[in-house]
């Protein structure tokens, strides 16, 4: 009995170094993205996956993952977390005495296409860092008065409002001569634009009388004055009264 216990103990002693060599510890350091890794949910875990083999390590305090008794092979390492996305790593466990090598890997690329080799730190610890925080929710575009003011339609309306209210004041405060000039200009523009087609001289245009157009328009404005609308007619009458 005693002998057998002794043999077992001896066997165990032989077994321990073999088994314990192929292990891997990952550590989540505090980063600006994740200042306090101890707030990660307890469901966070890491997996080492290869064909027909998976190792799972739950989040261990203080923020690390430990894999033990790994067998030789080339594994994909994923860290699964509800709140943060982690990059994938490649873990090669050597057949002899469990040499563990960790590389960066890129999903969607060839497996042989390894990235930077991540050094095994003190005691075989590799640091893993979250790549991004997960945002699940879509925010509704709520009602914001500032956004309303920024919209071009509202801006147009505000400008035209400003003109509508501001122009009479400007006119009233204007120098009388300037005002008279302005009104006559306006008069000419409105009357000429009132019926541009009416006064269009096709023959003249075809004859290349571009220069004579101004005169014709001035002539035409006299004839078209009576055909203006009520408002411009009123203006004409008022001027006549002056």
């Amino acid at each position: 009995m005693l002998l057998s216990t002794f043999t077992y103990t001896l066997l165990l002693l032989l077994l321990i170094p073999l088994a314990s060599t192929a292990s891997l510890t990952l550590f989540i350091p505090p980063t600006p993205l994740l200042p306090d890794p101890s707030h990660l949910p307890p469901s966070t875990h890491a997996t080492l996956t290869t064909l027909n083999r998976t190792y799972t390590a739950p989040l261990q305090r203080p923020s690390r993952f430990t894999f033990r008794n790994l067998t030789a092979g080339s594994y994909l390492l994923d860290v699964h977390c509800r709140d943060y996305a982690f990059g994938a790593l490649r873990v090669d466990v050597g057949a002899d005495a469990g040499a563990v090598e960790v590389w960066q890997t890129f999903r969607g690329n060839e497996w042989g296409n390894r990235g930077e080799r991540l050094g095994l730190g003190e005691g075989g610890v590799v640091e893993v860092r979250p790549a991004a925080a997960k945002a699940f929710f879509e925010e509704r575009a709520g009602f914001s008065p500032l956004a309303l003011l920024r919209s071009p339609m509202i801006l147009l309306a505000v400008v035209s409002m400003g003109l509508m209210f501001g122009l009479p004041y400007m006119l009233d405060n204007m120098d009388p001569e300037m005002r008279a000039e302005f009104e006559s200009n306006q008069k000419r523009v409105t009357s000429s634009s009132a019926s541009p087609l009416q006064n269009f001289d096709l023959a003249g245009m075809l004859a290349g009388q571009g220069q004579g157009q101004d005169q014709q328009q001035a002539k035409g404005s006299g004839g078209g004055g009576g055909g203006g609308n009520g408002a411009s007619g009123g203006g004409a009458r008022r001027r006549a009264g002056n």
Binding site: S43, D83, R107, F136, E139
Partner: protein, 992 residues
């Protein structure tokens, strides 16, 4: 450049369109975070922090979920899913213990022993042993002269080739010593006392039975101190015959009874003396169950209670142990009470309390005397459902007793009821209830609620009568409707308020238990492995409406439900059982209608696990329609198409047998409700690719475990013709290979590994490692505007298929996480684009992947042309990253979903989703956004505000216009002139 912008816009549009809105989260979705039915020996109250008096309720359930529950409200504090295999039916034993005043709880499941932080559920340490599975776990409570450490050590018993006892450091999880038992006995249990560790094992004593062998171990070195055997072979034949091995108390005991349940035998571990106690049973009742309850703390008094349960009554006796003589003496007995009962032990300092729970009262007793310390009437937690005359009774429970300074007591008991509920009763009052039996859901199906009014039926009557009769009928109907008027008026303010705030719940709750106008209110009937049926209301956060016991199962038997079918016209749910019978229940009440539906024409294909022998489904009462082909499994797993002649007898039309070394992993058919809105896909140049639309598609996944390969075969299930087959190598066959089929496309997912090429010089056949998702689409021909062999024919026939197979387009993606429980959203008309709903077992989430991204026509190695961009195609990327916004379970932690079912709402935009397995999760999704309903984003108050503002603006501007007009000398316009606007225009015209 502009196309680029458009393309970028399209891509950015797709994911953001389907994300969960922050204000919809936790409102439209619901989740039952379950732990499974707690096991009596793995459930306890424990203080996670020695400094705080607040305790949590810990359990390791039958589903091997370790959960910490807040006893105040029943909320889950943290959970860990410890099942080592994905197979939930595996019968791995689990153990959970906590040392007194420790901040960790220790679990042993399979080959793993882990310590978890009691407060936040993080792993403290873990150790794994390849040479056996855990048979027992105890925490060593006593100090053995070592320096004070941060955690109490644990002893674990492993059963492998030998029984191995290991002492595990409570600080690091390392092995301090191990003891191998070479005697060859069956290891049974461990027990610790103040100074010893005892290994209780059973050794065969010839044919007669089993001898109990007790080995005493030195706690410091693990060396065997001595051992003795108890001659129990006359009584003990199986390990189950031993009633109790008292763990971890000052005087651990072993208790067993003779086969006739007449004598109870008790051995105080450490002595060889066996005390025989006559079981009090004057009436000679058949004792069904004997349970021993003893405290688990070393410093508590050495008292224990024996609980006897017969068919009709329960009673108990309390015994005291004399520590010096190791003898047992009876202290007092408790009266016989009718019905079943549950006892639980709790300790406070050295005092031991027994709590007795019966159907209607709760008694608190001290172990020292028979006086009742406190008594409460327990009000039945749930009022009995109408139509369900079922009595629930407590099966077992744990209690926590607090004695107050004024010698009054407070007791809270967490009781597991016969219905599979976990109830917390505080001082006789029900505090919370968790429906843990739902964690064993095996099947679920949607059921419609009855329509609000039979208005359609009434109107039909009016159509068919003459005018006068119809008029009278209508008047009568209106008069009848008047009786609902006061109620309608009463609810009107609520409804208006609900409509204004956009809270549909307020608006809908007024309508009673009826179908709503959007089709969001439905029931899901869930069948559990415990033989129960539950109805969950989808609109009310998945609340249980009714539950019934539908089947009587033997211990350890799982309810074998093969299918569920809702008959919405009759309001019935038909549950098919593997044995061939079926159970028909009313969907709204849960009343069992025993009549089977003769001649019901379901038109649905059933997968049955039935063995060889026709007819397959006749016994179930659902006789299939004439000439329908039913897919059945043969005795060796082959798939058969059986054609029914109409008399219930079937002939085998075709058979699909996997090749040698392969097995069939999965069968997939198109969903029952799978409408196709368009028969073609319009390309950018306005030409059309015609979809291959065959309603009888069957996708068979066969795998070869030896060759690591998976073959997918697409069949026509009527003719048995193979339409398409493909083989993938380097496939992990131990992980689920999932597939889904709809319209003219299918998808499947698996783990693909690097496959070296057979030829060394060439690159590997498959060069990446990871989960893959393959999407395949079928068209009638490879050319647009061409229907191929089908030509102008209107109909497609499975029995005389076209000579050329359909045109197949396929693309594969690498995905970051394993998919399981694939499902496809289902909408009423199929116009809305589809999403693929899947469970991410790794991240404990449910995801909705837009089908638009899985179009196999995505251009490879080039940017899409403007025409392709118009189709919504983007450049093919081998990696399909999962956007967190696709996760429809957002922050919820969903574990163990086995299956996801979808159902269309009345609104075309929306599909309802329900996932079951362990947790229950449900929500509704709008894959093309909610285009036919005003969501919460539509602010009704804002709309009213805008109208009011516009009105105010008009009122402000109108006088101003008048003022401006008044300045003109010719026309003094009155307000009335605006009314007489035509006249005003006329006057102006005349004047000019």
């Amino acid at each position: 450049m502009r196309t680029h912008a458009l393309f970028a816009l399209l891509v950015s549009f797709v994911p953001s369109a389907i994300a969960v809105f922050a204000d919809d989260a936790y409102h439209t979705d619901y989740h039952h975070p379950l732990v499974g039915i707690p096991q009596e020996h793995n459930t306890f109250f424990h203080r996670p922090q020695a400094s705080s008096r607040a305790s949590l309720l810990y359990t390791l359930s039958e589903k091997l979920i370790l959960g910490a529950i807040n006893p105040k409200d029943g909320a889950v504090v943290w959970r860990q899913f410890l099942n080592p295999s994905s197979n939930l039916t595996s019968s791995t034993e689990g153990f959970l213990r906590a040392g007194e005043n420790e901040n960790t709880v220790i679990s042993a499941v399979g080959s793993q022993i882990s310590a978890w932080d009691a407060l936040d559920g993080r792993l403290a340490w873990r150790n794994e042993f390849a040479d056996g599975v855990a048979k027992d776990l105890e925490v060593i409570e006593f100090e053995d002269g070592k320096a004070k450490k941060s955690g109490k050590d644990a002893v674990v018993l492993f059963e492998g080739d030998h029984a191995v006892v290991r002492r595990i450091s409570g600080e690091t999880g390392d092995v301090l010593w191990e003891h191998r038992d070479g005697s060859g006995g069956i290891p049974h249990q461990l027990s610790t006392s103040n100074s010893n560790i005892y290994l209780v094992s059973l050794s065969s004593a010839g044919r007669a039975g089993l001898k109990i062998k007790v080995t005493s171990l030195d706690p410091v070195s693990g060396r065997e101190r001595n051992h003795y055997a108890l001659s129990s072979e006359a009584d003990v034949s199986t390990p189950q015959s031993i009633l109790f091995v008292g763990a971890n108390s000052a005087s651990p005991i072993i208790a067993w009874s003779d086969k006739a349940s007449k004598v109870l035998k008790v051995n105080v571990i450490g002595s060889k003396h066996i005390s025989s106690i006559d079981i009090p049973n004057e009436n000679g009742e058949d004792i069904k169950k004997i349970r021993v309850h003893a405290p688990h703390i070393t410093r508590s008094l050495p008292h224990f209670l024996v609980h006897y349960q017969s068919e009709t009554r329960n009673w108990a006796e309390v015994y005291h142990i004399n520590l010096s003589t190791s003898t047992v003496s009876k202290a007092y007995s408790l009266p016989k009470l009718a019905g079943p009962g549950a006892f639980s032990t709790s300790t406070q300092d050295a005092n031991v309390f027994f709590t007795r729970n019966t159907e209607n009262e709760l008694l608190l007793l001290s172990s020292t005397s028979h006086g009742v310390l406190a008594r409460w009437e327990t009000a039945s937690a749930a009022a009995p459902q109408d139509g369900v005359a079922e009595k629930e009774h407590p099966l077992h429970g744990v209690s926590e007793v607090i004695s107050r300074p004024d010698s009054s007591y407070a007791v809270r008991s967490a009781l597991v009821s016969s219905a599979g509920d976990w109830n917390l009763v505080r001082n006789g009052k029900a505090v919370w209830k968790r429906t843990e039996a739902l964690a064993g859901a095996v099947a679920a199906e949607w059921a419609e609620l009855p329509e609000l009014k039979d208005l359609a039926r009434e109107l039909e009557v009016e159509v068919h009568e003459n005018i006068l009769a119809a008029y009278i009928h209508r008047v009568k109907r209106h008069v009848r409707d008047l009786q609902h008027f006061p109620k309608w008026i009463e609810y009107l303010p609520t409804r208006i308020l609900g409509a204004l705030s956009g809270d549909e719940k307020i608006a809908e709750s007024a309508k009673g238990f009826n179908r709503d106008s959007f089709g969001f209110r439905k029931l899901v009937i869930v069948a559990t492995e415990t033989g129960r049926l539950y109805a969950l209301s989808v609109a009310d956060q998945g609340q249980v409406i009714w539950n019934i016991k539908a089947a009587d199962l033997k211990d350890g038997e799982r309810w074998d439900v093969t299918g569920m079918y809702a008959d919405n016209a009759e309001g019935l749910m038909i549950v098919q059982i593997g044995s061939g019978e079926n159970i028909v229940v009313e969907t709204t009440t849960g009343r069992v209608v025993s009549a089977s539906l003769e001649g019901s024409d379901t038109g649905r294909k059933w997968f049955t696990g039935a063995n060889e022998g026709d007819p397959v489904l006749l016994s179930s009462g659902l006789v299939p329609r004439k000439n329908i082909t039913v897919i059945a499994r043969g005795p060796n797993g082959e798939v058969r198409g059986k054609r029914y002649a109409g008399d219930g007898f079937a002939t085998t039309a075709w058979e699909f047998a996997p090749s040698a070394g392969e097995r069939i992993a999965e069968l997939t058919v198109r969903p029952f409700h799978d409408p196709v809105a368009s028969i073609g896909r319009v390309l950018g140049d306005r030409s059309v690719m015609y979809k291959y639309l065959n309603p009888n598609l069957l996708l068979i996944t066969t795998v070869s475990d030896a060759k690591y390969s998976a073959t997918l075969t697409l069949l026509d299930s009527v003719s048995g013709n193979i339409l398409y087959t493909t083989t993938h190598h380097g496939v992990d066959t131990t992980r689920p290979i999932v597939s889904a089929l709809s319209e003219n496309w299918f998808i499947y997912s698996f783990w693909g590994d690097v496959v070296p090429s057979s030829d060394r010089s060439s690159p590997p056949a498959q060069s990446s490692k990871g989960y893959r998702l393959v999407t395949t689409t079928l068209y009638e021909s490879p050319l647009p505007n061409d229907r191929g062999p089908l030509g102008p024919s209107k109909n497609f026939s499975s029995t005389s298929p076209p000579s050329t197979p359909p045109f197949i387009k396929s693309q594969a993606y690498l995905i970051p996480s394993a998919l399981s429980a694939l499902a496809i959203t289902s909408t009423r008309q199929g116009i809305t684009s589809r999403q693929i709903i899947a469970f991410l077992a790794d991240t404990h989430a449910i995801i909705a992947i837009p089908k638009l991204l899985l179009n196999p026509s995505r251009p490879i190695d080039r940017d899409p042309t403007p025409a392709e961009a118009e189709e919504g195609l983007s450049r093919y990327q081998p990696l399909l990253e999962f956007d967190p916004k696709w996760i429809i379970s957002h922050k919820r932690d969903v574990i163990g979903a086995q299956k996801i079912i979808t159902s269309p709402a009345l609104l075309e935009s929306t599909s309802l989703v329900f996932a079951y397995g362990i947790d229950i999760f449900g929500t509704r999704v709008a894959p093309s956004m909610a285009f036919d309903i005003l969501g919460k984003g539509f602010n009704r108050m804002q709309l009213i505000g805008t109208v009011v503002a516009l009105g105010a603006g008009v009122a402000f501007l109108a006088p101003m216009t008048l003022c401006v007009a008044g300045k003109s000398e010719d026309y003094q316009l009155e307000m009335a002139d605006f009314v007489k606007f035509p006249e005003f225009v006329f006057r102006s015209a005349v004047d000019s």
